[in-house]
């Protein structure tokens, strides 16, 4: 409760900037579907999606201002999920 990070309030300016960036990236997601990239299309979509979720987690979910332990915990979870997806894709790619 006495944790100062809990009281950290983001300015409207910053929040709007993040929001606009997210909109721009959404537009980018749609745009890459129009470009002929072959297999890289999936990677491009995934990369944009990762940046977007990173922004949401860092600013809207406050992770940028939380203690280090929380960030470690978050990354353990993300890393595990990436491992699960990676292992599954590995089979599909070489099947």
């Amino acid at each position: 409760m006495t944790n100062e990070s809990a009281e950290h309030i983001l300015s409207y300016g910053k929040l709007v900037t993040v929001w606009v960036t997210l909109l721009v990236l959404t537009a980018a997601t749609i745009m890459v579907t129009r470009v002929e990239l072959g297999v890289w299309k999936v990677w491009a979509a995934l990369a944009i999606a990762s940046i977007k979720s990173g922004l949401v987690i860092a600013f809207f979910m406050h992770m940028k201002y939380e203690p280090r332990l929380f960030r470690i915990i978050l990354f353990v979870a993300l890393f595990t999920l990436a491992g699960f997806i990676g292992g599954t894709f590995f089979d599909v790619l070489y099947r």
């Binding site: 353990v76 595990t80 999920l81 699960f84 599954t88 590995f90 089979d91 099947r95």
Partner: protein, 539 residues
Amino acid sequence: MSQETATAEGGFWSDSGKTGIGSWIFSTDHKRIGLMYLYCVLSFFMVGVLLGVLIRLELIAPGPTIVTAQTYNALFTVHGVVMIFLFIIPGIPASFGNLVLPIQLGARDVAFPRVNLFSWWLYVIGAVIVLVSLFTGGGAPDTGWTFYVPFSARTTTNVSLAVFGVFILGFSSILTGINFVTTIHRMRAPGMNWTRIPLFTWSLYATAWVQILATPIIAITLLLVVTERILGLGLFDPSRGGDPIMFQHMFWIYSHPAVYIMILPGMGVISDIIPVFSRKPIFGYKMIAFSSLAIAAAGSAVWGHHMYTSGMSDLGVMVFSFLTFLVAIPSAIKVFNWVSTMYKGSISLEAPMLFALSFILLFSIGGLSGLILGAASTDIHVHDTHFVVGHFHYVMFGGTGFAFFAAAHYWLPKYFGRRYEEKPAIIGWVLMFIGFNVLYFTMQVLGMEGMPRRYYDYLPEFARLNLVATVGSWIMVAGILIVLWNLWRGLLKGEPFTGNPWGGATLEWSIPTPPPTENFEEDPVVTHGPYDFKGAGVP
């Protein structure tokens, strides 16, 4: 429950002044919640045992014996679902974890007592849904506990409801995990630094992480099966353009880590019992604690070893086979450390220790047979045979099951303030141990000879060993009944149990018996390690 409240007295049984069923099912006291879990998981254990005995009875001779083929399919499915999701996954963490973990840390309760109660309620609701699914709709599920598609997407039995019940049970498991992780991070008493945490609680820490990270995957997977069944989506069913191997990936991404949800707490129990009954500090404390985390981490990367024959890519088979061998290392670290702890110790063979010792042997047999299965070249021959059934009963029952009984004999007297009799406990243990090996070792031999699993009938040449296995199941059940009856009678009416008769050095042995509602009269300050018997002042 009223009967227990009538006989067990003192401490948290009575000091709040509240009685009646409401003081239990709405209690946020971790000890009461732990006991409620205990009664539930034991009841389901008995249901599972009954179903198992029926399966063995059907297999006593070739051809139809006591049930129809369809009933047989339902029997092994429900046996698996009950034992896995209702007994062995919540078994040790939710019952003994709740009873012991906060006290071992020097805390008055878990971090979120109400979430704890909520998770018990989710468990009960999930269990009721699973039970209802057996008697409604198209009848009891017949898919096997693994719910493999495409069959589970097509069968007319009540798979959707059963799977939904398991979905709810998953949330119960996740909430317990979150509670334990938070409690261990935030609620430790002064002086309880990370290297003074008892190894049982350490094992629950690793377990809790797996519960939090892996359980959501099965939740999603099961929901997808339900949507496939109800909406007819083509996610997994190949005739609709789906990918059935995808289901196996998603299922085992949870269910292999889940076997570590089952075994890690059992290993923690053993790590706490062995030093006490050997009168020696644990050998390699840090390695045991670390190997729990290593097992949890490495165990999350080996799920593909259940799928060698599924049609997965050959390269995938090789990679998963290699990774599987890595898990054996931290498992072996633990076994070697337990044995080293006993070396030159002053060993007393009381009931908890006997169960712990048999754990080591049976788990080792199970783990080594796991290596035969982990090597893809040998697994292809014995996959889906009784060898696999023998393997996982050695690790799950010989391991976790025996650890559960070790924990019951070790800790329950502390919470009831009364003790069981030693002699029947030992007789029961001997019968369990003998019956267990007759039953499951025979299964491994049968599997090697080619007897498939989940089959209603078999070739005449398997008849003799099947008869042996069924007789083994009777011996084992006789042992289980004696052990449970002896515990029941002793804990309610036996001799008083006070002080620290085992001579444990962890915090639960420093408080009154039974523990008061608040656990500690004054906030403890921890000055010694969990196996520092001299520092704790026990002889």
